[in-house]
Amino acid sequence: MHIQKSIQFTAFALAFGLSVTTAAAADLVIGMQQEPTSLDPTSDATASIDGMMTQNVYESLTIVSENGEVQPNLATSWEVSEDGLTYTFALTDAAQFHDGTAFDAQDVIFSFNRAMAEDSVNPSKGIFKPIDSVTALDARTVQIKLKNKDAFFLFNMGQGDSAIVASETVDTNNAKPVGTGPFKFDSWTRGDRLTLVKNPDHRDAAMVALDKVTYRFISDPAAATAAMMAEELDAFPGFPAPELLEQFEADPRFRVNLGSTEGEVILAMNNAKPPFDNIEVRRAISTAINRDEIIDGAMYGKATPIGSFYPPHGKAYVDLTDAYPTDTAKAKEMFEAAGVVGTTMTLRVPPFPYATRSAEIIQAQLSDAGIDAKVENVEWGFWIDEIYKKQNYDMTIIAHTSPNDMGNFARGPKYFYGYDDPKMTALWEEISTEVDADKRDMLLKEGQKYLSDQAVHGFLFQLPLLGVFRNEVQGYWSSAPVLYTPLKGVSKN
């Protein structure tokens, strides 16, 4: 008995001692609201996969900087032909995959062919559509030929969807990701945490300050607050509860960041399903909703309203928030004219506070206008399956956090919007192939106006980037032009 106890004590002391040494300054613990179901950004649309994996574990040809500029990454340089159709990338010779296999042009070809394939499960298949062919000129040079000019091509090459994966490990990437990045995947305890460790063989290893990064999945805002306050977490870059920021602002241990994301929060309607195929019904819904109330009630005023599908901080932004001024009586008349008064509409909401809170307010606003909206709170896996993949819904609330994603409206009837409009498809074709920035901005403005006019969805607000950081944490991006923040530049002292 005595012996056992002393062994236990030693074990305890050992564990305690170990935990002290592992909690060194170069370990970062990050809180995450959304736990993904897969870790492969090239096959799943969940934003948090990119948040953890892209440019940390996986790398792509280019990388996007905090202010949205495209910079070299696995491609150290590139040349674009006169006609803008041929891109020749020179690849780094200092990269290798975490399993020890070398990185070369064949990996790039494999990754692109996989994303471009007929049966590709890439969540942003559209960004590969302009690509005609990918060929290796030699082991360190890749040439990509486009069918048409693509204004977003180099930017898109820096997104998680175009991560370079190895053919040997691609099938297990969803649970055991292998890339070329500055961090290696270490472990994933589902429902709890995911750990990355520094990749000492990375070409930029000398610049990487962190030895270990732990993501902890905490979806409940109150639990997130408690964990931050107890300093169990160093950072919560996407803090879910705006009402709790004040106490962090008042606390000298923390720094609160209010930035912008590329995330347009929309009240998505299933345009393929009656009555949402009727533009008058959609316009009535846009007339019934009151953005100011939603932002005030759900976001505690910490968000910017949007009237179409383009971020307010973008260059081509047009303010269309007055397109459908809130008018409950008018909305009711419109619903009556369309014969939908008294019908039930289901609002299936994913488990994010911005969505569940907005849903409750929208439910009340629609009910004032004579529509019986039923709110159903669903799990994220269910949402991805039933709503995103099977289009089985009336309305939902979701933030579209990808940049340059107006192309969503040109994805045809099989995308969960169920929106199929040749005019919009043609317009996006024009936008994405226009390489002149000014002309493209004009077209983007046209697109925003058209989407607002068609009232495809209820456009609500731009998702703010609310982050809470301990003062020791430096280098985290304060705004998010893409879905990731490279941890390469983050430090903790």
Partner: protein
Amino acid sequence: MKQLPANFIIGAVLVAFVVGVAALSLIWTPHDPTDLNIRAKFGAPSHVNWLGTDQLGRDLVSQLMAAARNSMTVALVAVLLGGSIGVALGLLASAIGGWVEDIVMRLADLGFAFPALLFAIMLAAVFGPSLTNAVLAIAFINIPIFARVARASGNQIWTREYVLAARAAGMNKFTITLDHILPNIAAAVIVQATIEFAVAILAEAALSYLGLGAQPPASSWGRMLSEAQTLMYLAPELAIYPGLCIVTAVLGFGLLGDGLRDMTDPRLARAR
């Protein structure tokens, strides 16, 4: 009749208050409990909103009243449903005995071992979260409890002289069960039902707190609690009021059940 036990009196007063408020909410609440007024959120108590307003500007008193109604309805339906099935099974086991009794009681053991929360999560996964599923889950956990009570009390009655006489006179077991057994176990069942009512209120609050019960915009104490959780620093009263309501209701039914038991249990009566 001797003096009523104190727990019975306190319990009855609390229950009368909660049930009264719930009943009143059927015909009247100060405001529409689902009426949003976001500009007036976190309102202080006033002559318009007696306890103030919540994070979406809804009247707190009205919400608490509507939630009381919701809570009582769920508990009533769940206990009635689970209780009737449980008592029927218990009486069946007690009347027939033998392998039927064995099977029923082993199934009851199985039901006991199955946590209500797990059952509710299962129902929510298959049919989606709803108040109906919460009711079914709570009813389900009540079945084995009532089956045990009914069987245990029933078995005692079956050995009484008047029952033996009835059997000797040729009455069949079904008639005996209805005529003699059921009326004589009624007291025990009612005591159990009152206690289970308190448990059901707590279970409904827990399920709604977890998002498996009442769905918005329906008011529920449990849901109000979960929504108030992040607002504890800003507006602690939003968590305190529904919490107090749950305590009042559960305590009320619990004390009432204890009091009833004290009054109907002959051993305790003699001891007093």
